[in-house]
Amino acid sequence: MDGLDDLKAKYLTAVAGVTDEGALEGLRVAALGKKGEVSALMAGLGKMEPDQRKAAGAMLNVLKDEIDAALRAKKAGLADAALDARLREEWLDVTLPGRPRPRGTIHPVSQVMEELTAIFADMGFAVAEGPQVESDWYNFDALNIPPEHPARQEHDTFFMHRAEGDDRPPHVLRTHTSPVQIRAMTEQGAPIRVIAPGRVYRMDMDQTHTPMFHQVEGLAIDRDISMANLKWTLEEFCRAFFEVDKVELRFRASHFPFTEPSAEVDIRYSNVGGQLRIGEGDKWMEILGSGMVHPKVLAAAGVNPDEWQGFAFGMGIDRIAMLKYGIPDLRAFFESDLRWLRHYGFSALDMPDLAGGLSA
């Protein structure tokens, strides 16, 4: 077989020079199509002697494969070039904004309430609730604050209107979450462990006070719960809540009608360049009031004070939220300024849990 090298050179040169798929197909047909030059040579094999045919067949197959490979490579190259050209045309300005997705937020008070719940749930505290319009019995009397007690005057109470002819003492907007203690103990008896977060109301409005704010009450009653248990519980709470390695609390004797002994609790902190750091430094800040539940309060809730004892505490939720997250102004909590809500709010999926860290 002569001329195969020429044939090969002819087609490989032609393939290399092709610039579009149509011409390439024409070459394929001319070489390898049914009537193509290579096919024609293949067809001539049948007339040959067996020895000759074997040698010529092998050479023709090599030639066919070489041309085919060149055609395929060229085809892929042309397709890539065409795609590249198309993609170049499909350029978009990706610095344009994405389609808007609304981004909602959770209010810091709600977030902190869930944080509190996560911590206390781990210590076995359930969440109790009570009405915000309260009878004066639950808000005061049952908590060992009889009608003429000077402590009543210090509560700056909001009273509800009383219709003429209704001689009951006016209801109040609860001044603290402590009445929930009475309701929870009356319903569940002892032993009991609950926290009661919620809105409370005092007639006070200035730089640092709002007529509505949030408190969390804690109550643990059992046969042998002591003030030392209270201290541990609060230490653990503060350590977990403020997400620091250690906290230091100081109990200071005080007075609340519903606890005895009573203590105000201070936490150690430092103020470095306006930034508060809990657990270090040499300053003390009062963060809550607490004590051992007064026997009269237990009795008012139907729990026998000779058998049961335990602690209670009350803490400002807004206040600890301000401390933890560095929120400067209490009044802004209730103003619903969109800028504030976005800045201090939390994402919907940012659900506090102990495994991942509360604010992680």
Partner: protein
């Protein structure tokens, strides 16, 4: 309660430092609020000596002094007549702040002569009003700090003023002596004895006293006094004036100042009557008739109400018992004969009267918290002695009615209970010592509280006293063991879980959660079905907070208006919280409310911006309901509250149980609330969503078919008032086994639609998905179902299949 350190030391023998005393006070429960060191402002000043004083070349009255200071010799120009060589003076240097003239000194030039500081007068240092010349000290070394010199030579002016917060249970600490007693019990010194003098009466008191029988049992059990004649009233001695001034009281006259001194020193309020002005010789303690007018010492006239306690002479009311004396019989500089009153008043009666008349006085403050009933006579004798000492005169016999009430009571001291309740080991001996130091009488395990501690009312109070004196600071935390061992159980109630789910879902849908006040103004409350007297706050703090909110929407609308005023027009606000349907405890319910205002998004290249509409909030309310586990199949009624657009709102319910409502806010309501619309809102009544009946985490088995589902589309022409849900329900009901779902995929309404299909018509298009379960559907099967769907829908809607 304010007092000075030296006043405290009148009662407490101590070597403790001020710092230790302050720490102990706070730790004992007598929280220190402020300590003012009156000479702190004098700290920069030092002593100096005038070496030479020569006439100023250009001013007759000025002298140029050469002064020896701790920084060498300085030249100071001075105008004081007593500036002369040899005297020791108080030097203020350039850079020092001089409080009495409110000036920070610089190097000055006075009539051409340089002056490096000044030599101060007493007034310039706010030590007294003396300004006739500069201070000349009889002692002292050059360079010595002036405050050190004062501490050594004039301790009275250096007396620190301490202010402590007294909790309502501790009336005894409203006297300096009570505070001293606490400190002594803590071990900071010894309580000095208080010796009560025996007063020998020289004559019968010309003024006698009589308690009305009706008051003897409760209002005024004990009233005592005595006349002192031949007294000279006038300004108090300096030490007494200084004490009163230090704690913020204005010295008046020695007689009045003595009563104040006893009020603050011993918690024993007293009153002095000018005998010359008491008519009839008898002071009567009686309940007011009502209507009596009384000019009190504060210069105001009060009208007494029936039952209030008064002290009257023959002419009328002379004193509002235990609260404030009267102007008429008050003592003046001319008083020569005085009746000194010491009485015990019932705390509740005093509190009630004081509150009714809005009089706050030091006497009321103490009597309503409780003064020592056993100290009425000793207090009288001590004060008599002081009047005799300071004003001269002669004391009469006692005039007295009633007797000190017996407050003796006994509680059991159980030393083990202290450990059990406090969790602190305090030896029994220490417990006993503490109680004894506080004035308790111990007899075995029986403890009798002192008469000045009305707050001690049970065994637990003994524990408190012991623990507080031992110091709660020493308390060491002990782990609280778990109630149930092992992994903690879930603790939230189903409603609490729902509240969270609602809140998180709403935030995930893009709403910003707000917390707004529970009270709103009456007009807004009335717009939302509230504002009645039952939910009215009797003493609102402002006119914008007069009523409990009947609904969360008004608060959110007000918030939207505030944000719009700041330029934020597109809002998605939400609140999850209580609304109040009545004024009784428990008449509140949990709402989850969302409000969309303005456009769905900011302007952008994708054309995302469009006005919010009803179907935005409908999608949101459905998402919230789904998150709360509400069933998928619900009814939508048009019975919706009046603050919604009547044609563009609906209520989602199950039978008569309404779970939620949604819609466009009524334009009138928007206008009243000052919000620029459009505004869409939804409210979910969280508790109204039924709890699932099945309570197991196991899911039902998944039923899926391998057989091909078939979708068939239908379009119907119906009257435009026909609700599409009617058609969907009809289609769905055709074959409940075969029809998996029915979806609305198009609607064609408006002028073009009516032009095509006739006036008052619209077209709706449904896609019905058929899911066979046992065999593949044949064309005939599909035809048969389709025919039935058409029949059912046209029958239910009165429409026709669109050709």
């Amino acid at each position: 309660m304010k007092f000075t350190l030296s006043w405290l030391k009148d009662h407490l023998e101590t070597t403790a430092s001020l710092e230790d005393i302050l720490y102990a006070l706070t730790d004992l429960g007598l929280e220190v609020e402020e300590v003012v060191n009156p000479v702190a402002k004098l700290a920069p000043f030092t002593l100096a000596k005038v070496l030479e004083a020569t006439q100023h070349p250009d001013a007759d009255r000025l002298r140029v002094c050469k002064v020896l200071t701790n920084e060498g010799e300085k030249q100071i120009v001075c105008g004081a007549p007593n500036a002369r060589a040899g005297i020791t003076v108080v030097l203020c240097k350039p850079g020092d702040y001089v409080p009495g003239i409110d000036v920070t000194l610089g190097v000055g030039k006075i009539r051409g002569v340089e002056s490096h500081g000044m030599m101060a007068s007493e007034r310039e240092l706010e030590l007294s009003d003396e300004h006739n010349g500069i201070i000349e000290l009889p002692t002292g070394e050059v360079g010595q700090k002036f405050t050190d010199w004062l501490a050594e030579n004039r301790p009275a002016v250096c007396d620190p003023v301490i202010e402590v917060k007294i909790t309502p249970n501790r009336p005894d600490a409203l006297g300096v002596r009570g505070i001293a007693r606490d400190l002594a019990a803590r071990g900071l010194g010894k309580l000095k004895p208080l010796e009560v003098p025996a007063i020998a009466g020289g004559f019968a008191s010309p003024v006698t006293v009589a308690i009305d029988e009706s008051l003897k049992a409760k209002g005024c059990p004990h009233f005592a006094g005595r006349t002192i004649r031949g007294v000279t009233n006038g300004p108090s001695p300096d030490w007494l004036q200084a004490r009163l001034k230090a704690i913020g009281l204005r010295p008046i006259s020695v007689l009045v100042d003595i009563t104040n001194y006893f009020t603050f020193g011993l918690n024993r309020p007293l009153h002095v009557f000018d005998v010359a002005k008491v008519q009839g010789g008898v002071l009567r303690i009686h309940p007011a008739q009502g209507g009596e007018e009384f000019l009190a010492l504060d210069g105001k006239t009060y009208a007494l109400r029936a039952g209030m306690m008064a002290i009257s002479d023959a002419d009328g009311v002379e004193s509002l018992a235990g609260i404030m004396g009267g102007e008429h019989s008050g003592c003046t500089d001319k008083t020569t004969e005085v009746f000194l009153e010491s009485a015990f008043w019932d705390p509740i009666t005093i509190a009630t009267t004081g509150r009714a008349l809005k009089i706050n006085s030091d006497a009321r403050y103490r009597f309503e918290r409780g003064v020592d009933p056993a100290f009425t006579l000793p207090g009288l004798d001590l004060a008599t002695r002081m009047i005799l000492d300071l004003c001269g005169g002669e004391a009469s016999d006692l005039a007295v009615d009633g007797a000190a009430p017996d407050t003796t009571r006994v509680y059991k001291l159980n030393p083990a209970r202290v450990s059990s309740l406090v969790g602190m080991e305090i030896p029994e001996a220490e417990q006993r010592q503490t109680l004894t130091a506080l004035g308790f009488k111990l007899n075995g395990n029986q403890a009798v509280p002192p008469s000045w501690r009305p707050d001690v009312l049970g065994d637990a109070d003994l524990v408190e006293e012991v623990a507080r004196v031992a110091s709660l600071t020493k308390l060491v935390g002990k782990p609280l063991r778990r109630m149930v061992p092992g992994v903690p159980r879930p603790i939230l109630t189903p409603l609490q879980i729902r509240e969270r789910a609602a809140r998180r879902t709403i935030a995930a849908l893009g709403y910003n959660e707000c917390v707004t006040y529970s009270f709103i103004d009456e007009a807004a409350a009335a717009l939302f079905g509230g504002g009645s007297d039952a939910v009215r706050v009797e003493n609102p703090i402002s006119s914008e907070m007069t009523h409990l909110r009947p609904d969360l929407l008004p608060g959110l609308l007000r918030a939207a208006a505030r944000n719009q005023a700041r330029g934020f027009m597109d809002l998605a606000l939400a609140e999850i919280g209580p609304a109040f349907h009545g004024g009784e405890p428990g008449e509140q319910h949990l709402q989850a409310t969302g409000l969309l205002v303005g456009a769905s998004a900011a302007r952008d290249p994708h054309g995302s911006r469009r006005p919010v509409d009803v179907f935005d909030v409908k999608a949101d309310v459905e998402a919230v309901l789904a998150a709360l586990g509400a069933p998928a199949k619900v009814q939508i009624s048009r019975k919706v509250a009046g603050w919604f657009h009547p044609g563009r709102s609906g209520a989602i319910g199950l039978g008569p149980n309404v779970m939620a409502s949604f819609g466009e806010v009524h334009p009138k309501v928007l206008a009243e609330m000052g919000v620029k619309g459009p505004a869409m809102a939804f409210t979910v009544l969280v508790a109204a969503v039924p709890q699932p009946k099945v309570k197991t985490p196991t899911r039902p088995a998944l039923a899926i078919s391998d057989l091909q589902a078939v979708d068939r589309d239908f379009a119907f022409v119906v009257d435009k008032g026909v609700e599409v849900l009617t058609a969907v329900n009809a289609a769905q009901g055709t074959d409940k086994a075969l029809i998996e779902s029915v979806r609305v995929f198009d609607q064609f309404t408006g002028d073009k639609a009516e032009a095509q299909m006739g006036a008052g018509k619209k077209s709706i298009a449904l896609t019905v998905r058929l899911q066979p379960t046992d065999k593949t559907l044949t064309e005939a099967d599909i035809e048969a179902v389709s025919k039935k769907v058409i029949e059912k829908v046209t029958k239910a809607t009165g429409g026709t299949l669109r050709g």
